[in-house]
Subunit: 633 residues, 2 copies
């Protein structure tokens, strides 16, 4: 610390602390590196390196069909756990499937079909051990609202059904393409805050829709009571991860109420007194629906749009759920691979009379709590649904629709996560705004508008961060060479004659003008302050570039202008700790020669040391000549 | 440096080097600060502070009409310079005005009208002393292509004309609103690279269009020669800022060739042999056109769209030109105020038979080189144009259109700034891609598509910077406590048992998943490396947060997960130099307690010191208990 040479390094001395210009990198190589980081950040091909071809082939199969990876080590112990979990989620999947299909204005039987084939596909291809595959309320609602805008499901049920299959097909194609093209990171642009607001908004819309239906049932006087009872029972479902005490009650409640409701209607013949029931469900497994996909239709663009939007939403939920359980159990999930699995599942589904499926949170939480070990629980569920489809569909004839509405409402209440919204408010107000915008957009306008608004605001935040970067004045931390933000560290002291500014973002076209004006204002304010207090006048402006990750040509022009302005005001511009990218571009644009490499220091401390040395030994004017002479050498 | 206490600070000692939690700031105050930085970065109201009301009124008038600010100190010396500059730009404005009006498919006389009223308005309201107001080729081309898509100018010239006025009106309203709402920074999103590519593309389109016209004139055999002659003369124009040697030649060339061309046609009666001439121009000043604005029309949306796009383009050029000359002469320009001036100018223009005007680069450069001192040169130009309108329009009857085409082409050649494109390639490949995309979009698709593509790519770059932030391994710079990127500084050495990572961007929803995986990969790779070389196993992971300007709730969740993963792998997570925003949010989300405030250091050096101290004194396990005990206190 007391080392004078360290505190006052001579600007011309051969000193290791100069900022090194990084070795030039061929363009192709740096492009390759950047592409790799953008598209293959998880380096999925690492395991294939240095392996013989046959081994690579086996690894490749295991990569795309993970079931071959874990099946050989599957044990009877696992089967027992998976069997219990599978039966449990089947008991949830059957009533929920029927309910959500109604929500999407599709035949109820589609809900059962969609719980049969897609889980089997996912069990082969998926890498999550906890995800339970099935239809989801929000995507069902979206399908109903987006397709419903074009085709009335009651007037033209066949066309509506075919469009739903087509939308599912395109959702699958889109999901698989995202995964194959390694564009999975696009889903990250749906932030957590967006999803919370969006889900709550969709849930509110669904609840209002269902309540209208329930309250309209004048003949069934006990309906509201039933709702409140069911609600109190079901509202536990979504908390099952946190409160496994009532877990079995809540997991079995939907099926129980379906059975009880059906028996009640059957015994009282309530269906003849105005209580709507499901009615006839066709026996038998999924009929093929490949021929029903419509690729030539005036509604094709609607189907594609619906497919892409519902596909993204479903993906965002599925991936997030898969990741959070994987983290909990400490195994890894490859987002892009999951997307391929989801996509294939939906493409196959669209050809086998299923509509959009994903890994819903509520069902996966039940799966997890019921003790599932692998994706075999999905297979067990599929088999249970298959048995239902083959033999048990007549049992649902008398199931009252009001029970389905209650099941939907109870599941929806779980999606309104007001605690998460409060957390957002506490930690980050901007995230709260994003969340509320998504909520308000969905509730007051439409699901698509809510989504677009929330994503736009999230992006705006990122752009605003770059457009209006923070700039700080730095001060010296007592008894050190360390300089930090004077607002964060209140015990810092300023250095006479030196203004130290930290720029807290990359310098891009979007902020170049702002930074030029902001730096000028900092200098003005500092000079005003010094003038009014009669202190040493300003001689040096040090820019701490440590947080400037990158710079573009507009940024370089900006620095060039700042340098000119400083020269005109007889201030010396000093750069501290510029990063590799910045130094490279300063060098390429020759700006480094104008600033002078001797005015670029490794740390703010050393820059201040050099400035102090100059201030105390000679006047700045001859110095300039010297530095110019140095430049010529 | 040799201070043992500095190198190995005890983690529990009362030490000033701990990271301070910044004092809580009320939400309203921080919102106010952020809004101020976003919308008033230049603090335009600073001069109004602590002033009596009457003085504030005077300052307010001077603020919106800067002419009252500088007129009292206007001298005869200034007038002489401004007069010469004004006459010079008038000699350029008259032929260019007529040419560009033809380019926009509007009556040629509109070019003269647009050089009369708008310059007068700008002289009152503008804050630039060097800008010469007039119409521009690119906006003229845009008007022709966008309005031409809806209305054929030859078939329905009246409607077309009215739509052009309406578009100008909306351009003005949009420009003024941007300024009044302090949204001027939106124009910054048109980066320099975008503008270079866009201008060159538009110029290419215009040149091809004009050449077709010229080459089609079979009867006028010398036309191509004339073009090449004119070209060689005029191509100097745009370089006039750099090469004022031929300045007067190039500045006067357009008017000279108009005069020579007209005399030639008049003497040879070439107009009767197929050479197209301007024909009759109405004498007299601008007729009012307020009644021609069409607000109820099936084409209203086209007019609004055209207005907004041309308005933004014109604004981007005008502001950039004004700023660059202001910087050169060392005075300040307020972007938002300029926008209000441009907007008012176009609103007034649209009511007085003018179409879109701005401050074109070429004309302003001539103004500057001719020695203008204030906006009075614009007034002089307006008076000269007025005289022309009143008395000299018959002189242009015989001006051959081919001369106008040549004038356009020569001005356009100046817009193809291939040197700037080469500079972009050298300094920043990505900017070059943006530039080329804008160029290709304009040339091969349409002006609007080129613009949208270039802006989208520019934004994508900003988003990619945030979505894929750089992470570096840091190493120790010899004989110091400084840690820097090992790729930039090749003489660094690693610290046994400690992995130091720098994160180079804010942690947001868009990069949280990526960073989680990337950090995990760095740790994996480091452990693999250590295992294969048989060195000390990894014990500590230090994250240098110095460049992390901000964090949102997704980022906090990510850090929480990283902490859990580290705990599971028995690694200690240490944070170095987290900024005020980050510490605030870590604190609010209680994550700070999980990480432990004793594991947050002011610098990487101190964090490494603490890790080394632990490594060399005791095993990490009892340490953990101790730190937990510390947490409880």
């Amino acid at each position: 610390m007391g080392n004078a040479d360290y505190v006052f390094p001579s600007p011309n001395a051969e000193c290791a602390r100069r900022v090194a210009i990084p070795p030039p990198q061929p363009f192709v190589e740096s492009l390759k590196y950047n592409l790799k980081e953008t598209f293959f950040p998880d380096d999925p091909l690492r395991q294939f390196k240095n392996q013989p071809t046959s081994r690579r082939f086996v690894l490749g199969i295991k990569y795309f069909l993970p079931i071959f990876d874990w099946a050989p080590s599957y044990t009877f112990e696992f089967l027992r756990s998976d069997f219990i979990a599978g039966i449990t989620i089947a008991s949830l999947a059957i009533p929920q499937g029927i309910s959500y299909a109604k929500l999407a204005n599709l035949p109820p039987i589609l809900g059962l079909y969609s719980s049969f084939i897609p889980p089997l596909v996912y069990a082969m291809m998926g890498s999550s051990r906890d995800l339970a595959v099935g239809t989801v309320a929000v995507a069902s609602l979206l399908t109903a609202s987006m397709l419903g805008n074009e085709v009335n499901a009651n007037e033209n049920p066949k066309l509506y059904l075919h469009l739903a299959f087509t939308a599912t097909f395109f959702a699958g194609v889109f999901q698989a393409s995202l995964g194959l093209l390694r564009l999975g990171f696009l889903v990250d642009f749906l932030s957590h805050a967006t999803i919370i607001g969006f889900m709550a908004g969709a849930a509110t819309v669904v609840i209002l829709q269902q309540l209208k239906g329930i309250l309209g049932l004048d003949h069934f006087t006990h309906s509201t009571d039933l709702v409140s009872v069911l609600r109190s029972v079901f509202s536990q479902t979504h908390q099952s991860k946190r409160k496994p005490r009532f877990f079995w009650v809540s997991a079995m409640a939907p099926l129980t109420s379906v059975i009880l409701g059906s028996i009640l209607v059957y015994l009282t013949h309530a269906e003849k007194h105005g209580v709507q029931v499901i009615g006839h469900l066709k026996k038998g497994l999924n009929p093929p629906s490949f021929a029903d996909l419509v690729f030539v239709s005036p509604y094709l663009s609607t189907a594609i749009k619906t497919g892409i939007i519902t596909g993204v939403i479903a993906l965002a939920e599925g991936i997030a759920v898969g990741r959070s359980f994987a983290m909990f159990k400490n195994y890894h999930i490859d987002g892009n691979k999951e997307m391929i699995a989801f996509g294939t599942m939906n493409i196959v589904g669209s050809c086998t009379s299923c509509y959009l499926t994903t890994g819903p949170f509520s069902r996966s939480a039940v799966n997890f709590n019921a003790g599932c070990k692998t994706a075999v629980s999905n297979i067990v569920m599929a088999v249970a649904v298959m048995v239902t489809l083959l033999f048990l569909t007549p049992l649902f004839h008398y199931t009252p629709l009001v029970v389905l509405s209650s099941i939907i409402i109870s599941a929806m209440l779980g999606l309104i996560d007001y605690e998460a919204a409060i957390h957002l408010w506490t930690v980050d107000k901007f995230d709260f705004i994003v969340c509320i915008s998504a909520y308000a957009g969905v509730v007051f306008c439409s699901v698509e508008i809510g989504l677009v608004v929330a994503v736009a605001i999230s992006l705006l935040r990122v752009l605003l961060f770059v457009a209006r970067p923070k700039t700080f004045i730095l001060g010296n931390i007592p008894n050190s060479m360390i300089y930090r933000n004077v607002e964060q560290y209140t015990n810092t002291s300023s250095v006479p004659g030196v203004l130290i500014l930290e720029i807290d973002a990359p310098i891009y076209f979007a902020n170049a003008s702002y930074l030029r004006e902001r730096i000028a204002r900092w200098v003005d304010e500092e000079e005003d302050k010094l003038k009014s207090s009669g202190e040493t006048s300003l001689q040096y402006v040090i820019l701490d570039m440590g947080a400037v990750g990158n710079i573009d040509t507009s940024g370089i022009s900006m620095l060039e202008e700042v340098k000119k302005v400083m020269d005109r005001r007889e201030l010396q511009l000093v750069l501290a700790n510029p990063g590799a990218e910045v130094v490279k571009k300063l060098n390429k644009s020759k700006l480094i020669e104008k600033i002078g490499q001797e005015w670029m220091y490794l740390t703010v401390g050393e820059a201040v040391g050099a400035c102090n040395f100059m201030l105390h030994t000679r006047k700045p004017d001859p110095l300039k000549e010297e530095s110019e002479a140095y430049n010529k050498v």
